[in-house]
Symmetry: C2
Subunit: 156 residues, 2 copies
């Protein structure tokens, strides 16, 4: 498994995402890496990321699906282009749509492992399935449609 | 518009949700009220709830859809039962599935207004559409299927 996350290579001006931006000091710092043909991100919830006490907040799980989805999309787009993250031009995807199914309560405590499976890669659109597990059991299944960030989003 | 939120009446042992629990001191404190036949919640993002700088983090928007969806489900279930929140037995819904479509970037700054429309109310399952707007423009559309909290989830 690679230890270089795609988010490590996001340009500074788009690296402030609360979920996965390395420059957001309040954020979750989700990091997405390749593991063979799948992608992986691990997130350790804080004790206050509660739904019902003892279980993980659904919005945090949605955030993990979301950011690991866009990170996986960027990884897949670089691979499809035959390039490594960090080579120009940068590829930064944002979420067009997000679907999350909560299969069972997710226990709060163990690290959450998100595993992405790339379904389709087009130049400006990537679809990813994400499964989130805790203690080896899949608790959440998600689906992300990610699109290449429109140029007019770029901070001035 | 009512100023009593359904979350104000969640029993103490299920009022710690990071998104909407009044007893979670680190949380977002989302509060859902009736406005005629629709439901409303307002959330003011913090400056660090960033996606791309200048825009709101998608995971926060998903959290708002999620918690306002379950809150709206509880409001609708009480109304369908001809009861007010706070009358026994308590009705507490959790999310079975969540769908979020990001229609346009959501500006970071103005309060976010989530408006819920109840689609279907069954004794143990409620479906809700949620539209999130900023500065009067709808930026996000969501759909939540909420189910009555299973009894075996109750904290011991």
């Amino acid at each position: 498994m690679s230890d270089e996350a795609v988010q490590d290579f996001y340009p500074d001006d788009v690296a402030h995402c609360y979920g996965c931006g390395r420059l957001n000091e309040h954020g979750l710092h989700i990091r997405s890496v390749w593991d063979g043909d799948e992608t992986v991100a691990v997130l350790v919830p804080r004790p206050f990321h509660t739904a019902i006490p003892g279980y993980v907040y659904g919005g945090l799980l949605a955030s993990l699906v979301d950011c690991h989805g866009t990170g996986s999309a960027a990884l897949a787009a670089y691979r499809a282009a035959g390039r490594d993250p960090g080579t120009p031009p940068p590829l930064r995807f944002v979420t067009a749509s997000l679907k999350v199914d909560y299969l069972r309560p997710t226990p709060l405590g163990p690290p959450l492992k998100a595993r992405g499976r790339i379904l389709e890669v087009k130049p400006r659109k990537v679809s990813v399935d994400v499964a989130v597990s805790a203690d080896g059991q899949v608790c959440v299944r998600g689906h992300v449609v990610a699109v290449l960030m429109p140029e007019n989003w770029t901070p001035s």
